[in-house]
């Protein structure tokens, strides 16, 4: 208690020197928390978008299906299991049929993945109702990235070629009936959405699907022969990995910032112990033990982080709150990460994040303060009183 009181007095008494350190350290606080908050916000938004647009509550995959293996995709479909019929009818689940194909917009060739989906499904946010038509031509839905890359607009026609289940090539013209705008690039780039029935007809695979997407994450997903259930943990693992990498990248940046702040404190401490010899000697003469003085100097250094936390709260909370409300605008180019990114990210700050950061910085300042202060225990008080540099 005494060292806290005296350390507080010393810091307040030291004036400008204290505030310079406190200001630098408070930047670390705000930037670390802000950086983490943006990542958290992005993570939450990306998960939310992926659940709504791509993965639903979880997916049953036909046992051969491997999204990274183009060669087996066309063999990864089988009849929709009987036990799912009810759930599909109730919009609790929706089947997707997947196959490779080639399109020739503007005469250029592009390999694509054809996705068959029920026009009346309510599981994913994709506006599949646009696929509802009675005509015999192939109607397709594409994402805005796909549309932009291939200069396609609603109403445009382009040739499409595929191989059916009997290994026979077939081709036809397809008409763009809708372009949707989603933050999730995976359902957009290189993807063509067709009505499930239409695709089943094209591939001659009546009543078959590659995967079934469930709506509710809490659904009891029983084991079904020939199908493997993939939960959120599995389906989001790529994204978790990217977020983790971004986290590491961000950490390097703010570790440097934090190191600078800690260096400033370390430096102040080392200087103090030289410059304040006379003070140290006097304190010992007045009845402090040398270890009490070590503790006092250590608490003094660590107290910078408390002051910095208070200062950071004063300007940081309004700043971060404003941004949590208005969002952090993301550059268009951010799309190339392959992660769902909204136009603006709304940072989220948890109490754990804030207190964790304060705690870590407090411990760090405690250590960089203690290391130089430890030297005091070896000071000769009679020399120190005279102000002799030892």
């Amino acid at each position: 208690m005494l060292s806290i009181k005296l350390a507080f007095r010393n810091l307040i008494g030291a004036g400008l020197r204290t505030w310079l350190n406190v200001i630098v350290l408070s930047f670390s606080f705000v930037i670390i928390i802000w950086n983490k908050g943006v990542l958290n916000g992005w993570n939450e938004q990306a998960r939310h978008d992926m659940v709504e647009w791509q993965i639903g509550g979880g997916q049953y995959w036909q046992e051969n299906y491997d999204p990274y293996d183009m060669f087996t995709i066309n063999e990864s479909h089988s009849a929709i299991p009987q036990e799912f019929k009810n759930d599909i009818a109730n919009n609790e689940m929706t089947p997707i049929l997947i196959n490779t194909g080639t399109i020739y917009p503007d005469g250029r060739m592009q390999n694509v993945i054809l996705n068959g989906i029920m026009p009346n499904q309510k599981v994913l946010k994709i506006p599949t109702e646009k696929l509802e038509n009675n005509s015999n031509e192939i109607s397709v839905l594409i994402g805005k990235r796909m549309a932009k890359n291939n200069k396609l607009e609603v109403g445009d026609y382009f040739p499409i070629r595929w191989r059916d289940a009997n290994e026979t090539f077939d081709a036809s013209d397809a008409k763009v009936v809708g372009i949707f705008n989603s933050n999730v690039p995976v359902i957009d780039q290189g993807k063509i959405w067709i009505s499930l029935q239409q695709l089943q007809k094209m591939l001659v695979t009546p009543n078959e699907a590659t995967m079934l997407i469930t709506k509710n994450v809490d659904r009891k997903n029983a084991e079904v022969d020939g199908w493997i259930f993939r939960d959120h943990k599995f389906l989001l693992s790529d994204m978790d990995e990217i977020i983790r990498m971004k986290n590491v990248g961000g950490s390097i940046f703010y570790l440097i910032l934090l190191a600078l702040a800690l260096l400033a404190i370390f430096d102040t401490q080392v200087l103090s112990i030289f410059r304040r010899q006379k003070e140290i000697g006097t304190e010992i003469a007045l009845g402090m033990t040398r270890w009490q003085v070590v503790r006092l100097f250590t608490v003094e250094g660590a107290m910078y982080s408390i002051f910095a936390a208070v200062l950071a709260a004063i300007y940081g909370i309004p700043l971060l709150a404003l941004q949590a409300k208005n969002g952090f605008p993301m550059p268009e180019a951010a799309d190339s990460y392959g992660l769902p990114i909204a136009k603006a990210i709304y940072p989220t700050y948890s109490l754990g994040l804030i207190f964790g950061t304060v705690f870590v910085i407090f411990i760090a300042t405690l250590i960089v303060s203690y290391l130089p202060a430890k030297k005091i225990s070896k000071i000769n008080p009679t020399d120190a009183i005279k102000g002799k540099i030892q």
């Binding site: 005296l6 030291a14 006097t282 007045l286 009183i385």
Partner: protein, 225 residues
Amino acid sequence: MANSIITITNMKKQYPEGKGKFTALDDINLSINSGEFTGIVGPSGSGKTTLLNIIGSLDVPTEGEVITLGESIGKLTHRKAAKLRNKNIGFIFQTYNLLPVYSVYENVEFPLLLLKMSASKRKKAVLDALEWLGLTDKIKSRPGQLSGGECQRVAVARAMVKLPEIVLADEPTANLDAENAHNILKMMSKLNKELNTTFLFSTHDEKVIQYLTRQILLKDGKVVG
């Protein structure tokens, strides 16, 4: 010597110097009684500061025994020595040694904080000490804003505030002009009489010597009278 509060027997103090040793104090035998107003008088380098530091437990004798307030200085742990200084010994230095970032009030309060005295008692003691030394109007000043004489008065207040048994004053007037020196000495002499605090000076200043009730002459580390 029933009243002896400082007893020194056959004390020697040596400092390492190169490969050999330098003897700063040699064969010191002394006894100081409670309530004395005594000065160790000698030229610069004679060992006055060294002697005061050992009596005040900031240093230890190389040989012999020094007993201050019943404690054998050579045998004290750091912690016990600190406690002895904190409770019973007030230090006054030639260069004042005030804590620069503290106000006058905080400087005087410092020893009482170490003593863990309650806030109300502390306040009263600090204000009393400041009044004795005529510093009541300087309470909020920082040492940098004070004159040398005022600084030394603050140092005296800081030494006296805990009502110690012994005050050790190492050339307290060396940096003061005549008027301030007399001022300080009169105050200390008065405190000595009113509170019966033992004062032990080190000095070679004539102005101090005239106030002393006893002189111990020191030359080249030896007591010569």
